[in-house]
Amino acid sequence: MKKDKYLKIDSSDINTPFAMDRREFLKSLGGGIIIVFSIGELSVLGGGILTKVQESSDLNAYLRVKEDGRIDCYTGKIEMGQGVITSLAQVLADELEVSLDQVDMVMGDTELCPYDAGTWGSLTTRFFDPILRAAAAEARAVLIELAAEHLKISKKQLEASEGVIYDTKNRKNQVTYAQLTKGKKILKPLSEKPPVKTPSEFKIIGKPELKADALAKVTGEAKYAGDIRLPGMLYAKILRPPAHGARLISLDASALENIEGIEVVREKDFFAVLHKSPEIAGEAINKVKAEYEVPEPKANDETIFKHLLSVASESNLVEEGGNLKEGRELSDITVEEEYLDGYVAHAPIETHTATAKFEGDKITMWVSTQTPFGTRQAISETLNMPLQNVHIKQNFLGGGFGSKNYNQQAIEAARITKLSGKPVQLVWTRGEEFFYDMFRPAAVVKINSGITNSGKITLWDYGVYFAGARGSQLFYDIPHNRTMAYGSAEGAHPFGTGAWRAPANNTNTFARESQIDIMAWKAGVDPFEFRLNNMKDERMIRVLKAAAKKFGWPPVKLPGGKGYGIACGVDAGSYVAQIAEVEVDKETGQVQVKRVVCAQDMGQVVNPQGAILQIEGCITMGLGYALTEDVKFNWGEVKTRNFNTYEITRFSWTPKIDTVLIDAQDSPPQGGGEPPIICVGGVIANAIFDATRARLFQLPMTPERILAAIHKG
């Protein structure tokens, strides 16, 4: 398992590893028009993310007009609740001039869909939408050309609407997409792009749409990887070590002999049992006696920060400007603080799951994965099989949040099905899910900042350790600044760490926005005014003002335990400002977040309804990392193994949430699945300070830590 991915994680927003592979997926297709479009088309977007993309001429995605006139949209993206099953269909339908319900989404199937690096980084709408729109525009252009031939009318006289092309001078003179495509197959690379629609021409993009997959999900019919049932399928359970890094010394499986129907597979230290009843397999694995040698603990959840600082050996300059020495001299007040953030689990309600079967020399798998193509690659390497003999099939995901970028369970299921020769399903227990989760890394942020007596920020010396750099870039206007990201090579963390919804940015935004708040209070300036006084970025100013207007800032402060906080940040190209109202019980340290207002500028919004759902979801989920979520461990021994000791947000904690989407339909679409979560830690910390005058420097802000901060005064 690779550890210390901090350098990869922090760049996941800006430097995407679009490693392409070559596939001949067109061979398998039947009739209809096929529009092929290449990732090279992305070059029109510009920006650093495309450097690698431009080098590749491999095909990226396609759509298909079927003989019955319905449209298949093939995408390597997956649906995990973020709603792209709806928004991608909107984009395609609008540009192709069909109705939304004519579109069938085929997602994440490695034989049907073009290569995709993975569904993460809030990239789908930013980078896949333009490709899909261009392809749909091309498809429409091709269809109109065909219609011109068919109707013997100049194409200039033709228009398309709802899957029908008609003569603008005589609407009865028309032909449907279905009639045009019947029996034909056209392969047409996109060499020249026909124009896509301008925002004023949109009919479906920008309109709120309910979730397209809701019906399947409220009836229980939606299929997740663990809902696949195959003839003769057995359920697998794997022998697990007590701690990461533990080495198997002895194994006694004699107790299994009395269990009817049990099967065993073993390959070196990899030991699994199989049974047709999942819980009998689970009971059986618990009867296996195994001894392990556990490595000496180097740190636990309390001492980890000291450990991390002691092993930080690599540094990267994120950005700098001016001169820190000069900044220090210009500062009337300096603030030097250290912020801590513990390990956080993804905890999707669906645990990592894989179902696998062999047919001849070919393996077919249903996997709860955000990276079907990466999983295919991993299976191919593990089993030493050609890529084309590995098929990852489509299914819904029961939440991802970054956890399912990593697919150990798929490799395990593939090995077991190969060893046993039986179709196999592997559903990780909740305990396994916590143990093998690639946690958001524990991190430290050190900030030394300075302001003048008039409240101008003059100095910003920022160092983030182990979180990653995403979200550490300054949008405040500070003349003398330096931002560094620190980490180390392998072995700093006791277990795997990885990308957790808006990687690094939650930690960086918590630290930065807390520090800004401290300086505002020291300067005696309202924290909203203080922010405006120290920034020039028009988009950030706009979202801050929009949030303040919606919230009613400044709030009328009444005696009692209530407090109000502000935080803002940038993630995945979107600008976010949040204002929170909290109530703190000073006797118990309990926090109730009463209301959160979120304003977001995410550029063009494809599905405003879906965007609002993501904002609400991010704020709700974010309360957990802000207030309670903290993985307990003694080095490689993960003590947090279920929801009774890992408290995620509940109904009773959820605040009233108000959202404002900035109207920016003329600017390119930006990320939506992650940005609204970045402010939650900072906005609550700042509101707690307003309520109690107690400053929290560590996430999560548990009642114990809040009480300690109150008593510290």
Binding site: G81, G220, G226, I349, L613, M621, F643
Partner: protein
């Protein structure tokens, strides 16, 4: 320990011969193929596995299958009648009260049990009744709205 047990499943009589100590959730999911009921935590913390047994909500991951002997079991698959969605299912769609959908069957079944015993719950009562159901995507506020909408619709006389 194989035993024959009889029960009613989604309105139909059932008879099964099996080890009656086996876990209800896994019998539903694997033996009966009713995969709408989900495994989330295996320890009754999350509510993804909730079904109704004699109109009481049951966390099926914690119950042996003998518990349903002679009883009426309803799972998410049994909620719609003759193709008509239950008001709760309609309200979840209308309010977009789900994202990944994995907790949704447990949410709907728990709400179903809640409304059976308290047809017109206050928001506070809904929160109390639903608070042991976890949703990682953060649909809680919309679920509350959906349950209120369903309660209003069901006031018209439809029995659950």
């Amino acid at each position: 320990m194989t035993e024959t047990i009889q029960f009613e499943l989604n309105g139909k009589p059932m008879e099964m011969s099996l080890d009656s100590e086996r876990t209800l959730l896994w019998v539903l999911r694997s033996d009966l193929g009713l995969t709408g009921t989900k495994y989330g935590c295996g320890a009754s913390h999350c509510g993804a596995c909730i079904i109704l047994v004699n109109m009481k909500t049951v966390r099926s991951c914690m119950y042996p299958v003998w518990y349903i002997k002679g009883k009426k079991v309803i799972t998410i698959e049994g909620l719609s009648k003759n193709g008509d969605l239950h008001p709760l299912q309609k309200a979840f769609i209308k309010h977009d009260a789900l994202q990944c959908g994995f907790c949704t069957p447990g949410m709907i079944m728990n709400a179903y049990g809640l409304l059976h015993h308290n047809p017109q719950p206050t928001v506070r009562e809904i929160i109390q009744g639903m608070d042991q159901n976890l949703c990682r995507c953060g649909s809680y506020n919309r679920i509350i709205d959906a349950i209120q909408t369903a309660a209003k619709e069901m006031k018209g006389g439809r029995q659950i």
